[in-house]
Amino acid sequence: MPERITPTDVAKVARLARLELTPAQLERAAGQLDGMLAHFADMDALDLSDVQPMTQPYPLQNVFRDDVVVEGLDRDEVLAAAPVAEDHRFRVPPIVGLD
């Protein structure tokens, strides 16, 4: 398990996760995450060199269906559930061009 986690580490993680934390929240989260990671260090005692990772419980691979057209969701119903829609599309603020 890695070394201690600091508020600076948390700030980086929060940015990656698109979350905005106040300095007080960063401090608090760092303490809590640090406590958890200290507990999780129990697995450092295990020899895992010959163990294959397990990503899913039931071994299914390449699940295909027949290539036939099926009814999709109703476009207007989907857009009606969005915060802002316009001209049958999701409307978002500018992505580029602002500095």
Partner: protein
Amino acid sequence: MSSHAELPRTAVGIAAAVRAGEVRAVDVLEAHLAEIDRREHQVHAFNLVVAEQARQAAARVDAEVAAGRDPGPLAGVPVALKDNMCTRGVPTTCSSKILEGWKPPYDATVVAKLAAAGAVAVGKTNLDEFAMGSSTENSAFGPTRNPHDLGRVPGGSSGGSAAAVAAGFAAVSLGSDTGGSIRQPAALCGVVGVKPTYGYVSRYGLIAFASSLDQIGPFSHDVRDAALLLDVIGGHDPMDSTSIPLAHPSLVDVLDRGVEGLRVGRIVDLPEGADPDVQERLEAAFDALRAAGAAIVDVEVPAFGYALTAYYLIAPAEASSNLARFDGVRFGMRVDAADTNAMYMATRSAGFGEEVQRRIMLGTYALSAGYYDACYGRALKVRRLIHDDFERAYRHADVLLTPASPSVAFPFGAKGDNPLAMYLCDLYTIPTNLAGHPAMSVPFGTGADGLPVGVQVLAGTLGEVAMFRAGAALERAMDAARGVSA
């Protein structure tokens, strides 16, 4: 109109009476709505009660019966749905502000199957936000209270669904279980709760928390109702690519088989942590199954104790990815900002509660460059160890018994500010999810302060038949001890 006490209490009893034309579905519904009127303001099991829609559904069931048609195996059965299952046109919130006001454009497969079987959905139940928690205290809409003691938690994250059945607001309900979120609240509320084998029940329309661990299952008053519900909602679904493409045997049909010759395993290296009152009930459960003809055998699951670590790296990692979709674009709320990135950050920070943000950050950390191998990568290997240990144990035993929860229901705020203290509530339930196995909590008497205790029955992949045989035997033993005839 019949009162609540005069009507059948179980789904099996209600459906039989409604199908036979002895009782009207609308009367069953009104009796349950009356209970909701009487006690919901204290319990807060629901985020939303859909009384008018339920009345229409119940009337349709009665019309079917009147026309000589069979409405199905759950005819007129009032059912409550955890509010992380999509219901077309009906708000689905995950008890999060970020989804407030969102109406799904489709039904989850389980919702459609229940309706097709004649069940009547009465409402959407409260949960820990995005199913992250063990007490239902972490809901954006306030906590649910345990119907047995309003000063205590109902468990979580499916606390609303457990409480709804315990309080008589619905005959049965559905929850989801990622690390114990059905079995632990079932234990704390004194009802039956089942997490099936991963892939037994379709997850289509279940808002994902940790996709490789999530599974939907029933809450009920008795084991037979849980079996009936699973018979209805189980089975392959082309809309869920992780759904097991096999036909499942009827579980209702195996309940009376008994446990003669069944091998019941005691995990000799089970991590300590259960309170003495819970431990005492577990011993009584072994005694009851032995008396019913089962053989008790010792097994080892050495990696059991590492499950908490593996789970709290894997589940948050998957959650951090799944919850990336809540960004203010397609669903629910948005906090406006000058550009898209700022809008994402403002929306997510305002919309997600503290525990959800904490888990997203933990998961993002476990997946981030430099920490991936040491955190997520190692956790996946520990998951394999746990799975393989269980598989070895199931060569010697058909089912295993453990506590479902280390303690009876605890008071609000008891776990304080320490997330790890809350995480330890799932000590005995988490390994099952990592292995992908089925497990159920069966009420087995009371512990401290007269509060319910649940015993957990675990089985290997698709071991539902053995699990339900053992669960039914435990229930018969309890009924016999209480002088209730079967």
